[in-house]
């Protein structure tokens, strides 16, 4: 078994990001699509922290701190939008939200 290095963390981060993309593509429920977005943000955080550790530079971790804060604000606004949408259309499914489709 080889020594765990930067590549290992980056591969895990890539796979996690692709799982997030897969969630956004496959699932039709707005809430689960949102969870896919969270997976992608966490994958980016993992890549930043591992770069920070292996490049002897603390800026990556500061960036992760900001990303977590912005993600929390983003989740709050997004979920409020979903609730407002549900109140108008009685549905959280993307297939029912086609009023702007040509």
């Amino acid at each position: 078994m080889m020594q765990v290095g930067l590549e290992h963390y980056l591969v895990v981060s890539t796979l996690l990001f692709c799982l997030g993309v897969l969630g956004v593509i496959l699932r039709r429920n707005l809430l689960v699509m949102y969870m896919g977005l969270e997976l992608m943000l966490n994958a980016a955080n993992l890549a930043l922290v591992s770069f920070s550790r292996f490049n002897n530079n603390l800026n990556g971790q500061v960036m992760v701190f900001f990303i977590i804060t912005v993600a929390a604000a983003e989740v709050a606004v997004g979920l409020a939008l979903i609730v407002a949408l549900y109140r108008k259309r009685q549905s959280a499914h993307v297939e029912d939200l086609t009023s702007m489709k040509l």
């Binding site: 429920n29 550790r53 292996f54 490049n55 603390l58 500061v62 900001f66 977590i68 549900y86």
Partner: protein, 167 residues
């Protein structure tokens, strides 16, 4: 020993991430949310193997705590249960899977592995809270203050969005 923990937490993170998006046994959003909590906790374990202790603690507190409680509250409010009987578009699923696997293969085998980005790099930095706080309150003081304004704006926006009617 540390390598063992890396493989354990990485496998658990990927497994739970997969169960969030494509659980073969359940399509309920609550199940996805629960696996997302486990995924966040395992990711915090990965941060600990990277010696980023403060980030790991924040990950648990903010993500697994606050954000997931918000998710579960909204699931409870919306009372979603009818998505089980929707059928999927097979062509869309096939195209999406091919695209995502392609992205993963290109990123891993063409970008990360040939670049030699981690060659003869030793893990050096210790993510101590003291150093992180010093960085945050000297070099990053302005972004830090801007983020606090952003949180205020988000709070006002959420209150405005969730009001029934504006007077």
């Amino acid at each position: 020993m540390q390598d063992l923990f890396f493989y354990l937490f990485a496998a658990l993170t990927l497994l739970c991430g997969f169960l969030v998006v494509a659980n073969p046994f359940s399509r309920s959003p609550v199940t996805s949310a629960m696996f997302l909590v486990v995924m966040m906790a395992c990711l915090a374990g990965l941060f600990v193997t990277l010696h980023a202790f403060f980030i790991a603690a924040v990950q648990i507190l903010v993500y697994a705590g606050a954000v997931m409680v918000l998710f579960l509250f909204v699931i409870m409010l919306l009372d979603l249960k009818e998505e089980d009987r929707r059928k999927f578009n097979a062509f869309g699923i096939g195209a999406g899977l091919i695209a995502v696997v392609g992205i993963a293969a290109i990123l891993i085998f063409k970008v990360i592995l040939p670049s030699g980005v981690g060659a003869n790099k030793q893990p050096m930095i210790e993510g101590s809270t003291v150093a992180l706080g010093r960085e945050l309150f000297t070099n990053y003081l302005l972004p830090f203050e801007i983020v606090s304004v952003l949180l205020l704006v988000a709070m006002v926006g959420v209150i405005l969005l969730s009001k029934k009617e504006l007077k």
